[in-house]
């Protein structure tokens, strides 16, 4: 039985002292403090380059996890095929960017070579948007009409099927080869904190931050964004005040796929494009979502960095083979101690029956 934590609204309003905030969010504070200590330790032991790494991957996990959290919060779908959107993004970026790069090598143009990677990334995001709309209309819409009970589990298993089809479909169409690029921008790395950081990494991080901020502003301030949040809070209520549920669902799903595809495109220099490239991003974004609490969009953005820190620290101290084992074990412990995540789940419909 899910434990419902009694929220004393009046008390929160009255007492905003730090001591009380800490008291109310003990797990969150503990994890944040712990990750701070870990970050400092990692910085001393391995140097700032590992911290930069943490920020780049953290930004991307956060971006992926935000999409995952949004889809769960609004549509109650535990999206297992999120990594496949990442894969599609990587492929699209590769097939847009490499021909461009080839033609640019033949006749160099400074402006175009700055812009070309962005073209690839934007194309990937658009492809993700289209993919999201297709998946929603083709599968989740009829499923929603046909499902009477157990929606959460059914939707989850259907996404598992989608992931299966898309991974193997990619193998079928593209073959198992790895397609990658060494870097997007042929420029020397930037000096930062005494170490060299490649422009690609900086841009990837910047893109993640800008997109998350943009998504946040969109959800907070626009009419459509408010409608999305309304659907997340209460579907029936939202429908009653005249919100087009189908449109909101499609939009949310498409946004999530688009951001995932964009992440795949932006990280093409790190992850190459191959059929099962989406697995690792999927695992890590799921860790983030479970750590932050299912459906908690703001928590997912913060959680991305915590998980990335855990990942980098594991790589540093235990070796790359343990990279997904130790975070998994930590997540299992987190789930045992605080099942609704350290920031608390905002989703009411977790109970499926």
């Amino acid at each position: 039985m899910e434990q419902t934590r009694p929220i004393k609204v009046a008390q929160i309003r009255k007492d905003r002292s730090l001591a009380n905030m800490i008291k109310r969010n003990r797990p969150a504070v503990a994890v944040l403090l712990g990750s701070f200590v870990l970050a400092v330790f990692l910085g001393i032991q391995a140097g700032p380059s590992q911290l930069i790494n943490t920020f780049v991957t953290g930004g991307m996990w956060a971006l992926l996890a935000v999409g995952l959290a949004l889809v769960f919060g609004v549509m109650n779908i535990s999206h297992f095929a999120h990594g496949e959107s990442f894969m599609v993004g990587a492929y699209v970026a590769y097939f847009i960017f490499t021909p461009l790069q080839k033609s640019l090598r033949a006749n160099p143009n400074a402006f175009l070579s700055t812009i070309a990677p962005f073209l690839g990334i934007i194309a990937a995001a658009l492809a993700g948007l289209v993919l999201g709309v297709i998946l929603e209309r083709l599968i989740f819409y009829p499923l929603r009409k046909n499902t009477k009970s157990g929606w959460v589990m059914n939707a989850f298993l259907v996404t598992v099927g989608i992931s299966f089809i898309m991974t193997n479909g990619a193998t079928l169409v593209m073959g198992p080869n790895f397609r990658g690029i060494p870097r997007y921008w042929d420029v020397p790395p930037v000096q930062m904190l005494g170490i060299r950081v490649s422009v690609d990494r900086l841009v990837a991080f910047g893109l993640a931050i800008v997109t998350i901020a943009g998504l946040w502003l969109f959800l907070r301030n626009t009419r459509t964004g408010r409608a999305i949040r309304a659907v997340a809070q209460d579907e029936t209520g939202a429908q009653m005040v005249g919100i087009n549920l189908t449109f909101i669902h499609t939009l949310t799903f498409a946004l999530a796929t688009a951001t995932a595809a964009m992440a795949g495109a932006a990280l093409l220099f790190m992850f190459q494009a191959y059929p099962t490239v989406g697995l690792k991003p999927l695992y890590f974004s799921w860790y983030v979502v479970m750590l932050a609490g299912l459906g908690n969009v703001a928590g997912a953005a913060v959680g991305g960095f915590i998980v990335a820190l855990l990942q980098t620290a594991t790589q540093q101290f235990f070796g790359i083979n343990w990279e997904d084992v130790i975070p998994t074990v930590v997540m299992v412990i987190v789930l045992i101690l605080v099942p609704s995540g350290i920031f608390g789940s905002e989703v009411k419909g977790v109970q499926e029956q």
């Binding site: 259907v158 299966f164 789930l335």
Partner: protein, 351 residues
Amino acid sequence: MTTNQPLSTADRSAGAAGWWEKLKSALLRIGFTPLGLVMLLLLAASPWIPPFNQEHYLRWLIMGAFLAAQSVAFDFTAGYINVVNFGFAAILGLGAYTSAILANTSPVLAIQPGISPWIGIWVGAIVAGIVGLGLGVITLRLRGIYAAVMAWFVGMALLGLARNLVTLTRGPLGMSPETFLDTNANRPYFYIILGMMLVVYITLRLVTRSHIGLAFKAIGQNLDAARASGINPTRYKVLNFTLSCFFAGWLGGFYAHFFGSLTPQTLMHTSKTVEVLAIAYIGGRGSLWGGMVVAFPFVFLTEFIRSNFTNLPGLHLIIYGVLMIAVMTYYPGGLSGAYAWLLSKIRRTRK
């Protein structure tokens, strides 16, 4: 019937009918209809019937029975208490690795206990059962999706362990455990796995036919109502998980000692769970037998595709995915639902 006094024809027919009814009810208790029994006997005879007596078809039959048994054990949790054990393949792999390590005699690995596979598979099953017990204890306070994700995470941790404990498992290189028998023939193995499949099916069927099964169904359909009527969901969920994982580990032992090769990726990966899940769902949730019937044609279909369309890798997995989505979206009852519908239709026309 050898009685000295001849029975009248009426008596005889009544006696025969009574005998028939008795047999039917006895069969039903262990989960077989007469039709099911006929199919089972056909299956048992198939290694002697051409073309199935060829070695590679026999191998497919073995894989079919293996998948069928897995789907029964999987459906026992997914179809009854409505918790999808997403770490199923990893638990199976745990049993396989335990048994394989216990049987190991090669000096490549750190320990060489050299225990017979016939004992090892039981140890593997018990280890898997204990992990299932732990998993059940952890997940019982979480609902639906949390439990699935939790099982998934535990499964991934197990996979990571199998990959990284190189001194015990040789990691991604894989180990080659002892086989059950000193023979290359597949026929004996077919009867081993067929027997194992029947043990899994009949045991779990007996459990679901008892009051425990009723409690499982109640928990799966409405947890709060079940609790209100005096069922302790915790205890039943843990029991269910433990049993299912026990059999998964047991079947894993068969895998290890039949194929004689064991790598983490080919056995414990999440996609293996998805294959079992697809079979169980296409067969029909909560029926146990549905997946068992579907598994055989499926293995033949996928192996046929795999061996004849080698230029299209992964096509058979796409078919799995498409069928699973189609069944879930448009016909949630699966094969067992279709069978029930057909049966009711026939009964109605008879009246």
